[in-house]
């Protein structure tokens, strides 16, 4: 075991956590401060701040959501629409803790057609795999994910998405990416009461009207016409 490369990884992990703590202690807060300033124009349903992610995880998740959802003419960046907060809350929810998941052994690898077969809840998968992702980044780039350049982030996320990143001791990096990607999309397009999609940025992007109840007359009114009525979320109607 002493010869095992994990020793090096443990060391690097320690170094990384240190750096994340040092840098991340400032970065996430800065991000939040920015978020607040852009959110004051419309009602936010969400308390900022994390309930699940630790400092290393906060830096990682913020870097991921801001890379996947950059600020541009179409939407604010991922942290400004709360995608990081959505994921944090989801992992702290019943879903994150394994609700509705048959989490009984024995656990075997299985075939791709047999779906998720890990013994980890979603929260445990994130906890394990964010660290492993950062270790893989250090192997490749000598830096944790949040310190990578945009091109490096892109390269790394593409490699994760195809399972080309090897996590030492498992699990498949694609399994982690698939959940992460799905959660980013949920954070962008779910109802704002869950913490993401703030100011309905995701819904505005595509013109989805939200929680609207009555469309029977709209079938004719908007037949091949742009739908222009206001967008409502659950909170607006509660």
């Amino acid at each position: 075991m002493d010869q095992n490369p994990t020793n090096r990884r443990h060391f690097l992990k320690g170094a990384l956590v240190g750096s994340a703590a040092a840098v991340g202690g400032v970065l996430p807060n800065t991000g939040n401060a920015e978020s607040k300033s852009t959110l004051t124009t419309e009602t936010s349903n969400v308390n900022r701040g994390y309930v699940f992610f630790n400092l290393e995880e906060q830096s990682f998740i913020e870097a991921v959501v801001n890379h996947m959802i950059p600020a541009d003419a179409l939407t604010p960046k991922g942290t400004d629409i709360g995608v990081n907060i959505y994921i944090d809350r989801a992992l702290d929810s019943g879903w994150g803790k394994g609700e509705r998941l048959y989490n009984v052994g024995p656990w075997k690898k299985g075939l791709p057609t047999q779906g998720y077969q890990l013994a980890l809840t979603p929260a445990e998968l994130y906890r394990t795999c964010i660290t492993k992702s950062n270790l893989a980044c250090i192997d490749r780039y000598n830096k944790g994910f949040d310190q990578l350049t945009g091109d490096q982030r892109q390269e790394f996320l593409l490699a994760l998405s195809t399972g080309k990143v090897e996590f030492v001791g498992g699990p498949s990096s694609k399994t982690f990416f698939d959940m992460l990607y799905q959660n980013v999309m949920e954070g962008m397009f779910s109802d704002p009461i869950y913490g993401g999609n703030q100011n309905k940025a995701g819904w505005k992007l595509i013109g989805f009207p939200g929680a609207i109840s009555l469309h029977a007359q709209d079938v004719e009114t908007y037949l091949d016409k742009k739908y222009t009525a206001p967008i409502f979320g659950i909170a607006d109607l509660s």
Partner: protein, 589 residues
């Protein structure tokens, strides 16, 4: 310590469409009825209310209305040489849980299966010869006829508030309906739903190419409606939250707004929720069911509910599971081909294209469960010659949006990146401007597609999980190839800006993505105990006072959705019990 309760005339396991129908019919006939439902009591006014029902994350992604896999799931594998592993999170199929069952979250598709299904083997053998049917395709005649069921289809459609356009009234073909449907005594209870842009486009193209488009029959009330029992429906609001959701408008037909409240108004009916049935009990001869064993999920206490008649009305595979757990009938063995319980699992499959039209506004979120136009030229049309493509069965083709909830629905052309500014721009551009054309085929049964009990994994009650061995076979691939050609022909006729063509590939069933909840077979219907678990009255050959209702009695699956037949058979069985069985208990002829 099991507490033995007072005997009832009838005990019903599960409270969806079939349990609801039998509860109403048999309690109205004066029998004492106890219904046991493993899930919760839910009502439209409390649980499917605005604004909270408009929540894609809660109902679609987190599956709030579905069976809870942490307590009970299935193990799965593609063939007997693989090791079956648990479906740890439901995906491919989503059985509902709670009062109303899967009828809470269905889309309302309601079809009439015809003699083409009930006489499948004899009709194919007669027309194409015995060798046309592959040796491992275990199709069989059902022993029931369309003529017997027609009044019961009619009854179910009226109760469920089905909107549609008749295509054949008393043998006379009707313009605008499905010319290939079984003859009907009268029009649908309600006119068809409105056409949305995507269904209009498809309808026009299909007509141009000589096909016969018609509106999908669906239990989505196209206007306010009162059914023959006096149950009130609101008009469908085209809200775009149909499948996976309860309906706050009471516009989607379901037992919770029709038969169940009527049963609950009877003093001789009792519904016990959070009551999980673990076994069907029998007497010493094994030929008679004596009741069921269940656990009260609130207290954990076990009860025996004795009954003169036992009705299994749970979701299709949960009925089969209960049969296997109770040891009734001989489990199916794929090696010898002997045994019945678990045999002939079948499912759905299909292919599809996506059409992108720059400049169009589909407003795909303005849609209902049934806002589709369909062609039946390659399924119900018996004149369609299968000898060239060489498959049994066929497919329907349809288009029209049913939902466009954005966590799950964001079509983009191939080559679009999965994130970043370019992804956002493409997502924004195509969300409003895409439509799909899809086929739907029933999977035909195969020797190696079956249910059994798992040897390793257990449910929350310490009972073996159901094991499902299933994969697509050559027949499905042949249907997919033929279907893809037709889909692409129609798609190209519409001349979209971009087209992601339909394609047929050999692939194995995967438990992860949602495909269909239409699981059929396992306790199949037939003409004798040697080929089936139940007779045409859904009555067990082994125990004449045990009836097993639902799509689990279908010996094969169809391109048509199953619920119309499930509902018709429920009324047919209710009549058989009321008019024949209780007068003279025994095997019905």
């Amino acid at each position: 310590m099991v507490t033995k309760l007072k005997e009832t005339d009838v005990v019903i396991v599960g409270m969806g469409w079939t349990g609801g129908i039998l509860s109403k019919e048999l309690s109205e006939a004066g029998l004492s009825v106890v219904a046991l439902e493993r899930g919760d009591m839910r009502t439209a006014q409390n649980d499917y209310a605005l604004p909270n029902i408009r929540d894609e994350l809660r109902y679609v992604i987190r599956q709030e209305l579905m069976q809870n896999a942490s307590k009970d799931t299935l193990t799965a594998r593609n063939n007997p040489s693989q090791e079956a592993l648990p479906i740890r999170r439901l995906g491919s199929f989503l059985p509902g849980e709670g009062v109303g069952g899967s009828a809470i979250h269905w889309s309302g598709g309601t079809w009439r299966w015809t003699d083409m299904e009930f006489k499948i083997r004899s009709m194919y053998e007669e027309r194409y010869g015995k060798k046309f049917i592959p040796a491992d395709m275990t199709i069989q005649d059902w022993g029931i006829t369309y003529a017997e069921l027609e009044p019961y289809y009619d009854k179910f459609e009226a109760i469920a508030g089905v909107s549609g356009k008749a295509g054949n009234i008393k043998g006379v073909v009707q313009k605008g309906g499905n010319p290939f449907e079984g003859y009907r005594e009268r029009e649908y209870p309600l006119p068809p739903l409105k056409n949305i842009l995507s269904s209009k486009l498809f309808s026009g193209a299909a007509s141009d190419l000589g096909y016969h488009p018609f509106p999908r029959p669906a239990a989505n009330a196209s206007k306010a409606y009162t059914n023959p029992d006096g149950s009130h429906f609101g008009a469908c609001q085209y809200c775009g939250y149909c499948q996976r959701f309860g309906c706050e408008a009471n516009a989607k037909g379901g037992p919770q707004i029709t038969v169940i409240p009527i049963a609950m108004s009877k003093p001789n009916f009792e519904l016990r929720t959070q009551s999980w049935v673990t076994k069907v009990l029998r007497d010493k001869t094994g030929k008679k069911a004596t009741g069921v064993l269940y656990t009260n999920l609130i207290t954990g206490e076990e009860y025996e509910q004795p009954a003169s008649i036992v009705l299994l009305c749970a979701f299709a595979f949960n009925n089969v599971h209960l049969m296997l757990l109770s040891g009734i009938g001989k489990p199916y063995d794929p090696v010898s081909g002997k045994g019945i319980i678990g045999k002939n699992y079948a499912y759905d499959t299909g292919v599809g294209s996506t059409l992108f039209f720059e400049g169009k506004n589909f407003n795909p979120f303005i849609s209902a469960g049934g806002t589709n136009i369909v062609i039946d030229d390659f399924y119900g049309n018996w004149d369609f010659d299968r000898s060239g493509p060489g498959f049994v069965g066929g497919y329907i083709v349809s288009a029209g949006h049913n939902t466009a909830l954005p966590i799950g629905y964001r079509p983009t052309p191939s080559g679009t990146p999965r994130w970043g500014s370019e992804w956002k721009a493409a997502t924004a551009k195509w969300y409003q401007t895409a439509m799909a054309i899809t086929t739907r085929s029933g999977v035909l049964p195969h020797r190696n597609n079956y249910y059994s009990l798992d040897g390793t994994y257990k449910n929350a009650f310490g009972q073996p999980l159901m094991q499902l061995t299933f994969d697509y076979q050559e027949n499905e691939l042949k249907m997919a190839k033929h279907g893809a050609e037709v889909v692409n022909r129609i798609s190209q006729h519409l001349n979209p800006t971009k087209l992601a063509k339909a394609s047929a590939e050999k692939r194995s069933w995967n438990v992860v993505p949602y495909q269909s909840t239409h699981s059929t077979g396992g306790t199949i219907m037939g003409t004798s105990p040697s080929n089936s678990a139940v007779n045409k009255y859904q009555q067990s050959w082994d125990c004449h006072n045990l009836f097993i209702l639902g799509a689990n009695v279908f010996p094969h699956n169809s391109a048509y959705q199953p619920t119309g037949l499930v509902g018709a058979l429920a009324y047919w069985t209710a009549d058989a019990i009321k008019n024949q069985y209780i007068k003279k208990p025994g095997l019905l002829a």
